[in-house]
Symmetry: C2
Subunit: 251 residues, 2 copies
Amino acid sequence: MRRVVIINFKGGVGKTTTAVNVAHGLALSGFRVLLVDNDPQANSTFIFTKDVKHSLTSLFKNQFALEEAILTVRPNLDLVPASKSLSTINTWLVEQQVPRRAQVLEKILSPAEGYDFIIVDTAPSFSLLNANAITFASEAWVPVAMEYLALANIRELMNTFSTAKSNLGKDLPISYVIPFLYDRRNKKSKQIYNILIDIFGDIVTNPIHIDVRVSEAPYFSKSILEYNPQCRGANDFRRLIRRIIDENSLY
Amino acid sequence: MRRVVIINFKGGVGKTTTAVNVAHGLALSGFRVLLVDNDPQANSTFIFTKDVKHSLTSLFKNQFALEEAILTVRPNLDLVPASKSLSTINTWLVEQQVPRRAQVLEKILSPAEGYDFIIVDTAPSFSLLNANAITFASEAWVPVAMEYLALANIRELMNTFSTAKSNLGKDLPISYVIPFLYDRRNKKSKQIYNILIDIFGDIVTNPIHIDVRVSEAPYFSKSILEYNPQCRGANDFRRLIRRIIDENSLY
Ligand SMILES: Nc1ncnc2c1ncn2[C@@H]1O[C@H](COP(=O)(O)OP(=O)(O)OP(=O)(O)O)[C@@H](O)[C@H]1O
Ligand SMILES: Nc1ncnc2c1ncn2[C@@H]1O[C@H](COP(=O)(O)OP(=O)(O)OP(=O)(O)O)[C@@H](O)[C@H]1O
Ligand SMILES: [Mg+2]
Ligand SMILES: [Mg+2]
């Protein structure tokens, strides 16, 4: 089973868009996927459902069992939903002096069986919630928008992973750096793409081009593969998913 | 003096771009501005300087006085820089059981004199750092990207302000909702702009159009008003700044 955290501390770079579309694409290919929404903004949840009974918050507080919170949102695709109250967990874990407070998510998800992928979507913040996601995961997927401000902190990201993990004696390798909002019309995208290749080498995947239909799909509570399966954005995601599947044997 | 927080819990919607360009635009018009970077990602800081001596972190920990941290980055424009260590303040405030832990920023900035505007840039997170920014401010400016996902949580934002402030018996009015990344080529922008007008009425400002030069300016450590003063993005910001100045007498 692959334990994935989709992470980038810069906001609005394509984390949720990756989480939703790759999770659904893998499910359509027959893989069993659990999507965990670890962001109080709950965008991944919002796209798949408007009706949440128990959210990840109540799992952190040990009020319910995992299976009571899990929602099946598509064939082969389950969701652990988020809610705004998840933001209180950062202070709650400290105030309650919860032992091993960065390993709570790992404990919550330990009963999850039968999945090929557990994918965790995150908020753009240095937080205890994210320390939990980083500790749970065995690989990181990092969407990066083709923007200078998105690039400014990318090296910091790598340092953050190694420090977070060194406290626990594990490493969190980055499996994929996913160039997002790639725009062939301006040279900035090409320039930033080249810088990513210089820094990260062959873990840089095919870019996800700017495609307005990708940003429309959430409005219809759909993944891009359902909303407009033939558009450029859908093709880009299918190509990325194929690579993820082809490399499954490495994990 | 106007105490402003630029805030939106959705990532990547134009908070930093607004903070940097409006702060510099007001400074160019002769107003004295203090820009406070309250985001551990430190994007506002990064645009104006690569050389930070003391950051806001050490002010929260009461290790230095405000004037030792302030940097003058342009005529009439001072900066309280951020750094990545600012992210530790969320847990530090709880662990140290700091009294009135949401009123520390207000205390830090109380010696700031002679400014017409104090503008605080924030991270997209529900955090103690942001509770401090909300408590300090007397008005909020809310950039909103013309995207469905950016719209999903906008009503939450208003609830968050009223709850945060009701604990302290004050209100945090939204002065401006700034439509960002407005793209005339697709109907989505117009549709979302109309929804914002329905919800917020006349506090919705002129939109800031998509303009690649606005996203290039950070690479050259410039505001858009310096980088390309005649482009559409620069004109949009000048129009927004004129409205802010014209309405000064209301504040
Ligand atoms: N390929 C694309 N083309 C056009 N728009 C896109 C594309 N990918 C994402 N978007 C839009 O860009 C915005 C940011 O994407 P998204 O919300 O996935 O980023 P995020 O990193 O999850 O943001 P946050 O940090 O707030 O969680 C969204 O409105 C989304 O619909
Ligand atoms: N008018 C515009 N046209 C084109 N690009 C823009 C425009 N305004 C902002 N951008 C770009 O969009 C991206 C997001 O903007 P910005 O970083 O200001 O958002 P933010 O809300 O501060 O993000 P975060 O939540 O990560 O702090 C940046 O790369 C920025 O350069
Ligand atoms: Mg997201
Ligand atoms: Mg910002």
